[in-house]
């Protein structure tokens, strides 16, 4: 697969938490190429099933969330749209951003506010609060009222672009970069033997509280699970202690959320295959699907791979394409060698 092309399709699709249908179609198209069965559950999780060759195969679940943060229409005033936020939006990046309002038809718009010459010097230094921001779709008031309703989702309209080297930038890499890694893993697995049944899940509503992971983990009842999410990549303003390094491979997380033997097994395979990896220490809640899956039913041994990502929760999230490929490769080799767990 062409990693950038898959990532670009996933990134540019709309899919704000609670309304993932735009991106879930893309996920289904990509998964379909490699899996035996594909289904979508009641919360919109897309689940790709790939049968194992073992006599009575056990189940491994891979989870990466496909929902993105976004906005929602809260009021229409004189043809301009007031909005509320869906997920952890950084107010600092809203002004001047291009968006799509998902009304009766998709409407391109701009996040706008008072021009700078009407601001006091103090106001210019303050981030413009949400209640002074509007989405302008450029249409007359009557047309806006006819096409847009309170509750319509608004997604960012950022293009996904190649930067220098193997770097790329775009929106919703959190966590569609990991969905791309799942596609990469499935592609590898289609050329490999694996004894375990594999459930690749693009989860919904992670940004609203890991909800897709809760129900999909229950439905699948896996024996093992690996969540894939993004981690804070080194970037200006972050200390080395706060960040993992972009371009140095996925981070294998360590902490109470993760099963030590599962983590060790992943590390061992990365070392054997000389796949670059890093260690990320997460002393408490990981804030990822792994947190929900670990306590599903009677409990699931769970691990987390983090793809290093710069500028998280902005429309210009930036990462290394190699890190996505390494994540997919590590997952595939791990799964193909899986026999007993915990290993004896």
């Amino acid at each position: 697969m062409n990693t950038f092309e898959v990532l670009k399709k996933l990134s540019e699709a709309p899919g704000v938490a609670g309304n993932e249908s735009g991106v879930s179609q893309i996920v289904a198209e990509e998964f379909k190429k490699y899996v035996d069965e594909l289904r979508t559950d009641a919360l919109g999780n897309v689940i790709g099933f790939k049968k194992g060759t073992g006599p009575s195969p056990r189940r491994i679940m891979l989870a990466a969330h496909m929902d993105e943060i976004g906005l929602m229409v809260s009021e229409i005033e004189k043809g301009f749209i007031r909005f509320t936020t869906v997920g952890g939006i950084d107010d600092r990046i809203l002004l001047g951003q291009e968006v799509i309002v998902h009304g009766l038809k998709p409407l391109p718009g701009i996040i706008a506010s008072k021009p700078p010459h009407l601001l006091s010097p103090e106001e210019r230094k303050k981030v413009t609060p949400k209640d002074q921001l509007f989405v302008d779709v450029g249409l007359p008031e009557e047309e806006v009222k006819a096409l847009v309703r309170v509750g319509d989702f608004i997604s960012f309209a950022a293009k996904c672009v190649r930067l220098q080297g193997d770097m790329a930038s775009g929106k919703a890499f959190d966590d569609r970069a990991s969905v791309a890694a799942l596609v990469c893993c499935l592609e590898h697995l289609s050329q490999m033997k694996h004894r375990w049944d594999v459930y690749a899940v693009a989860t919904s509503q992670e940004e609203m509280g890991l909800r897709g992971a809760v129900v999909s983990a229950y439905g699948i009842a896996p024996d093992l699970a690996i969540a894939i999410d993004v981690g804070f990549g080194d970037s200006p303003g972050l200390s080395d202690a706060e960040a993992i390094k972009v371009g140095k491979g996925p981070a294998i997380a360590i902490g109470p959320n993760f099963h030590p033997a599962l983590r060790e097994a992943l590390v061992k395979i990365a070392q054997e295959l000389e796949i670059p990896y890093q260690t990320e220490a997460i002393p408490g809640p990981s804030g990822t699907d792994a947190w929900a899956i670990q306590v599903s039913r009677e409990g699931v041994p769970t691990a987390l791979l983090s793809i290093p990502l710069r500028y998280m929760h902005t429309p210009v999230e930036t990462l290394s394409l190699k890190d996505i490929e390494r994540t997919g490769l590590l997952l595939a080799h791990f799964i193909s060698r899986l026999e007993k767990f915990p290993p004896e």
Partner: protein, 343 residues
């Protein structure tokens, strides 16, 4: 569509070449002479029909606001400063194109998850921001970009419906596109359509062009502020989208010449063209430089209202745009020597 082509062209103050080439090619067949002066202004001359021996300048600026790379650090990030009046609030989270090769880059930010509460409400000062082109270090960055390279926002022109369009740099590519249409007509006087440089850094192109031409009258054609968003207090907006060309009475840089303002208003009313007055004392245009040239030049400014100028992406109404062309064309045909005499 010329407006689309001009909007998407890159031409920050001091580096207007790409815009100049597009305009030059477009106007050349319609005028008698095209020249470029020492600072980079493009001057298209069209002889009059012989009715009056007058020289009239129409000015629109080709340059746009943007950024300039001032330093490349060891990690390969580009430090930058604004060129012209860039609103600092809009920088984070934007895509930019750097240098002549239009190298893509992004202006990132520390993730919200790692911010202290007080950092969340502070606008990040421009000195703290960098452009990330994905280079692994200084030397690989320097293969693609250099100190002094300009950067602009990466924004596509697009129709929004209801005759509205969005794009970057409508201030003042909208004016350039109006001028490029106006030169197709012949007028009762000699016309100098001046596509100026460096307006955003202090009206510098207009100053030297006006000195060289010594016009008897001048009109600046602008893309001006339309701030018709709902506000807490009911203050009148600078200009409204869809309400026609905005005629300036007085801005920060000049007082419009009354007989020319009257000419514009009378023309609009006679021709049934909608118009509005721009709210006084906001903004400034090339007229500020032109009207002070030599012994003084009677000058006026007419503008296409644009929402969100000086941000990455603006919106204008094609009706306003076309009405600006109509108004100017009709007014220029009615222009007589008495409109240039102080009342």
């Amino acid at each position: 569509m010329l407006l689309k082509e001009l909007s998407e062209a890159i031409g920050v103050s001091g580096n207007e070449e790409k815009v100049r080439k597009i305009i030059e090619e477009y106007v050349k067949p319609h005028v008698d002479k095209v020249s470029v002066d020492s600072i980079g202004n493009l001057i298209a001359f069209k002889q009059g029909d012989g009715s009056y021996s007058l020289k009239v300048v129409l000015a629109a600026h080709m340059d746009e606001i943007g950024l300039m790379v001032t330093y490349i650090n060891e990690k390969g990030y580009l430090h930058f400063r604004p060129v012209g009046g860039v609103d600092e609030r809009i920088l984070p989270g934007k895509r930019v194109l750097v240098g002549d090769k239009a190298v893509p880059g992004v202006i990132g930010l520390k993730p919200i998850h790692l911010l202290k509460e007080e950092e969340r409400s502070q606008v990040a000062p421009v000195e703290s921001l960098v452009i990330d082109i994905g280079a692994s270090d200084k030397s690989s960055a320097e293969k693609m970009v250099k100190v002094g390279d300009y950067a602009t926002f990466d924004v596509a022109f697009q129709e929004l419906g209801a005759r509205r369009v969005k794009g970057k740099a409508f201030d003042d590519r909208a004016g350039c596109a109006v001028l490029a249409e106006l030169v197709k007509e012949r007028y009762p006087f000699d016309l100098y359509a001046v596509f100026t440089v460096q307006e955003e850094v202090g009206l510098r192109g207009a100053k030297v062009a006006a000195y060289a031409i010594e016009p008897d009258a001048a009109f600046s054609i602008e893309g001006t502020v339309a701030d018709d968003l709902p506000k807490e207090k009911d203050v009148s907006p600078t200009a409204r989208l869809g309400h026609g060309p905005a005629i300036t009475i007085m801005d920060r840089t000049f007082v419009a010449f009354h007989p020319l303002v009257r000419l514009l208003v009378e023309t609009a009313e006679a021709e049934g063209i909608p118009y509005q007055f721009k709210q006084p004392l906001v903004g400034g245009t090339d007229s500020g430089a032109i009207h002070l040239t030599k012994k003084g030049v009677p000058s006026a400014t007419v503008a296409v209202p644009c929402r969100y100028i000086h941000s990455p992406v603006s919106i204008l109404s094609l009706d306003d745009f076309e009405n600006t062309i109509r108004l100017m064309e009709a007014a220029l045909k009615r222009l007589k020597p008495e409109h240039l005499r102080v009342e």
